[in-house]
Symmetry: C2
Subunit: 358 residues, 2 copies
Amino acid sequence: MSIEAGETIRSKLAYTRRPESAVSSQSQTDIPITLIGLGTIGISFASLYLKHSEATISIYDPRPDLQEHVKSILPGYLDVKDAKELVQTYLTNGRLRICSSVEEACKEAVIVQEQTAENVTLKRLIWKQVVDTVSPEAHLWSSTSGIPASQQVAELEDKSRLLVVHPFNPPHIMPLIEIVPSPHTRPEETEFARSFFSALGSDHQPVVIKKEVPGFVGNRLAFVLLREACHLVSEGVVSVEDIDKVVEASIGPRWAVTGPFKSYHYGGGTRGLGAFFHNLSGTIEDIWDTAGTESFKSSSFLTEAKQAGEGDSNPSKSWADVVVEQTREAYGMPTPADFAKRDEALKKLLQARNTKTG
Amino acid sequence: MSIEAGETIRSKLAYTRRPESAVSSQSQTDIPITLIGLGTIGISFASLYLKHSEATISIYDPRPDLQEHVKSILPGYLDVKDAKELVQTYLTNGRLRICSSVEEACKEAVIVQEQTAENVTLKRLIWKQVVDTVSPEAHLWSSTSGIPASQQVAELEDKSRLLVVHPFNPPHIMPLIEIVPSPHTRPEETEFARSFFSALGSDHQPVVIKKEVPGFVGNRLAFVLLREACHLVSEGVVSVEDIDKVVEASIGPRWAVTGPFKSYHYGGGTRGLGAFFHNLSGTIEDIWDTAGTESFKSSSFLTEAKQAGEGDSNPSKSWADVVVEQTREAYGMPTPADFAKRDEALKKLLQARNTKTG
């Protein structure tokens, strides 16, 4: 399959659309997808592709209990009746293949997607193994949250077909897919990934990031806000729980409907963002001038003493200790039931949001 | 009415609960509320109190067409059938009083709330007029977005009963109310305001901010994120429209359900926020180290040439020009129909969110 042939891509992608009927158990080998690394992100992607495509999914993870792991965890992600039986059917008819090596998993792959540990040495090793096995036209995707494609391809001869496909956790629920090519990536590869997620029919939102920057885009935006949130808690302006209440009652729902630029464009009335900036620049600048500059480097949080659990007796708590302790006091330690409850609430909210213009 | 008498407050607040029957046209003078300044924020608060309390609302604004303005704009905020007739009924039976001076509006007030222009001299003048008229026990609220109570009370003898009640626009839809006392504010005043909004039954979320900081809390969090968003657009990493897509598909819906601390607490799995920080501190620190430091001070955006509309021919565009132009190209100029569509989408989303644990 040539990735440059638009027609071919479209005809391949046609197979990714799920028919109106229930999840099909028919094996469809047209765009075989290989997933390497079956942690929560890998399992979540497997469920997404099983539900919203007809692709054959080959999976590989070095954990010795891979088969039991998949059988016990995957059904919970499929969100259908008789999910355990469905997973067994997939395993029996070959729609879902559990493999015992990278080579076995990649033999027929058209897309190879890795979500292994965040370790550049490991990822480079895996890609070497992958390219020794797959077709030279296979698409190589990494779901890393922090290691750009340009670092992952450093030791590959052909650096042009690997890019980052960064989801927002959990990928089978959250719509965002950040597609981050390296300077080496061929534009056709970027477009193939974008088209693939657009065509899934799962309401996923692929966004192409034009330059590699640390953390890509979503996490950059989130973590600068988190820094200010930590600052305000550390300064005693507001509690951890009240920060969450503020966000849940304001920018959270607002930005679920209209992102920040559209929101402030509307905030300027019929004269738009320019008027908003003219009216508010003083307040905005005051905030920027006084924004927190908390850092882990100057924090005692990551010292060995802390990690050994002696932190609580430390008389001078770091900002990170204050935040972590307040969070634990406010919410207790998270449980699987908490995650399930959050996921249900997210699905409901996204459903209400997605039908807004329908 | 003594604000210290908890029983009295509770009995007064009982009247703020809307009965199960339709919006009552009965005049209920128990907690008369005065609104000074009837721009969009004032009209929105008027509609909130008319819908969710039995209070008599007295309004004052120096605009000469106040009566016509209220009659034409307020019905759109009430979200009921025959809203125009309802407003007329309120005007006739005295539930809604249009006044021609601060003195007339404040005579019977138990709560005086101002949302005039963001000008400290103006606000000080208004509060002088107000305290000369109202009962010494009246509660004084300012819905400023940027001028802290401590600045507003500078020339008042009794500095103890004024605080900021900062909404998120539009207040009749968005749940957040930031209650920001000054160091002079009596704790009972803070508690009264908090109880008032909790008791409205409108799903509003009052949050007490413990210290006055520029922009309070919600806007601080939002504007540090906006700075990074402007930086990424200015650097060509991503377009304005794609920033909005990223946020609408990730942190917007996520934070509508679980605020940032709870989200990252869950992000650390069953070991919580401490584990999240340990795992991600490298990525987080990289982002903090490379975050944008855009400023209006170093931008040509606010020069007079720009304001006179000569900006487009300027060969060296400021980051703000780039952002404003891209936003206009992406969305066109906002129209009242856009605002109405956004408000409907917000109401639908909040409804889905609020019933999540029901």
